[in-house]
Symmetry: C2
Subunit: 383 residues, 2 copies
Amino acid sequence: MEDVAIVGAGQSVFARSCGESIRELCFEAYKEALEGLDITGNDIDASVVCSAPEYDKQRSPSGLISEYLELTPKPTFYVETVCSSSSTGLRVAWSLIKAGLHKTVAVIGFQKMSELSSRDAAERMGRGGDIIWESPFGITMPAGYAMYARAHMARYGTTEEHLAKVRVKNSHYGVANPKANYRKELSLEDILNSEMITSPLKKFDCCANADGSSCIILAGGDVAKSITKKPIWVVGLGAATDTMSMAGRKSLTGLQCAQEAAKQAYEMAGVKPQDIDVAEVHDCFTVSELLAYEDLGFAKPGEGAGLLEDKETYVEGKIPVNVDGGLLSKGHPIGATGGSQIRTIVRQLRGEATEAQVKDAEIGLVHNIGGVGQYGNVTILRR
Amino acid sequence: MEDVAIVGAGQSVFARSCGESIRELCFEAYKEALEGLDITGNDIDASVVCSAPEYDKQRSPSGLISEYLELTPKPTFYVETVCSSSSTGLRVAWSLIKAGLHKTVAVIGFQKMSELSSRDAAERMGRGGDIIWESPFGITMPAGYAMYARAHMARYGTTEEHLAKVRVKNSHYGVANPKANYRKELSLEDILNSEMITSPLKKFDCCANADGSSCIILAGGDVAKSITKKPIWVVGLGAATDTMSMAGRKSLTGLQCAQEAAKQAYEMAGVKPQDIDVAEVHDCFTVSELLAYEDLGFAKPGEGAGLLEDKETYVEGKIPVNVDGGLLSKGHPIGATGGSQIRTIVRQLRGEATEAQVKDAEIGLVHNIGGVGQYGNVTILRR
């Protein structure tokens, strides 16, 4: 079976409100993904459209978007694992190519969250948890991650300052990212003094809702080499779940779905955590990035905060993480997020990252989580 | 690459209202699919969950259902192409296995439509069309298919009696199907005299909303042979789209997505329409079955009604179609429908169909359409 590469990657500007219809929003990312390729839309064999439903009123958006991108009569379908939908889409597209059904597949992620009020959006997000036993009792996304933060603090002595330092780093890099929604550098004090959302998570410990789209184009090896000089190879794929219910979790000091997905991806790629040159991790909350350091093996359990103290996850450090600003700066348009993370790593491995380029990056990793650790996806890319 | 087979197939009873939560509903189909196999749930590597969102309040149901079926930490995700979601799920599961990511994958389809009023359900369904340019102006599902019926009548002289004869056949076979929602035999007069819904489609020309679930378990060749004596091989897969907008259609006398998907599936399987021993086609309306005869090449364009006149699509005919009663008898729980059609063909090819067994059936076909011909899926199975 031939290898599969990413040949194009694009995203829209992530914004609080995009002022466009979802089809127009998706076109922005698709256009950037096709730029510089020796193909046109006619050469795309199929598309996978990724988002979380119910934020906008359009049902079955894959058909609509496929028509707008002039992909009819090519097949399209919709894939969802909430916040990790477009990483799941990549996994599916990779399989379609590997299985021989298609040569070139576009993975389009989007979310238009601005159609709902923040209150309604939070309610919809909560319904990504168990709506009989948990979400009606207040287990929303911030509350779920706050439980992880509290457990990590209790077990390892992690502090609110440690969490805030994730945002200090990410806000620093977000300033230089023209596609980010939030481009203001924040001090430790700004973060620690911001409004409490759900203890210990404060306003600036949380990423913001956004409108946005992303597009990743994959192709089989021979095709990939013929249409771009810089194919980025998908060498490791991991996917796992944890229980939907928080009550079913065996531990709250790490995300088991991420640990398991990482194990699979490292094994498939034949690499170890220390081989990774640059990573994008799912920092929907500051604590999520800290957990990711440990779940991915960049630090031992309980020692993630040390990486921040030593600035090892900055661009000059041992393992630069989220040097595009992360979700905390970019915003988190649910279905578009994974594709945006992948785009950043593609640009890093091509040496084309304008916000902060990691020198000679060869192997990159994307960690993308759905819900409060229900769905874990780890993808390893290589130039 | 090894071949992929269906090793298990199950469905719940389709009913107007199931009185269960979606997780319990899915368990019914999963349990039947596992029956008689030399494996347990522990041997399932991954699941693909298929439905159309917004009928029930649970978001991201794949995680919830996966947990309830005790599949955690195996990966799961959600796939949607409205009414053809579980055929798309089968295509994706086939690719995951073929690509080497998994050995055994469960495709679980469900819909619990009873949580909405009929009026609300119709409105949601309409939003499967273009919500800016079309559905607000009345292009709901019945209206879309009525346009196809009118165009077919105008061009080929098809009559309302021809349409009604589809229901006469399907209601006849539905009586014997214990999983069907509607089990009463209907006469030509019953159908022609039923209430007008959207001319020329009357009440009995339309399938009914239902609650229901289906489950198809696929496995790679070696595994398949080791766990069942009767693997059913997936030999042809076709998928295509037509424009989301009705205004974009090039013709209204046939579904182009089905014609294209059929072409792909026949080519991949190396068979012709006349090789098919038994078929399940997407009879969401009577006219849909008539269009399918022609789109699949069982009859020439405009000659589909002749097959019915000659009873060639009855169980003793040249090409038996929907001899389990079809959606018109079973009901149409959106996400579960494709899986139910596949289950029927699996039972036919195994010689285990209790409602009406086609003698010595060796090759079967499933035609499953999403929306008003937006998504076409054709699957060819062989024993």
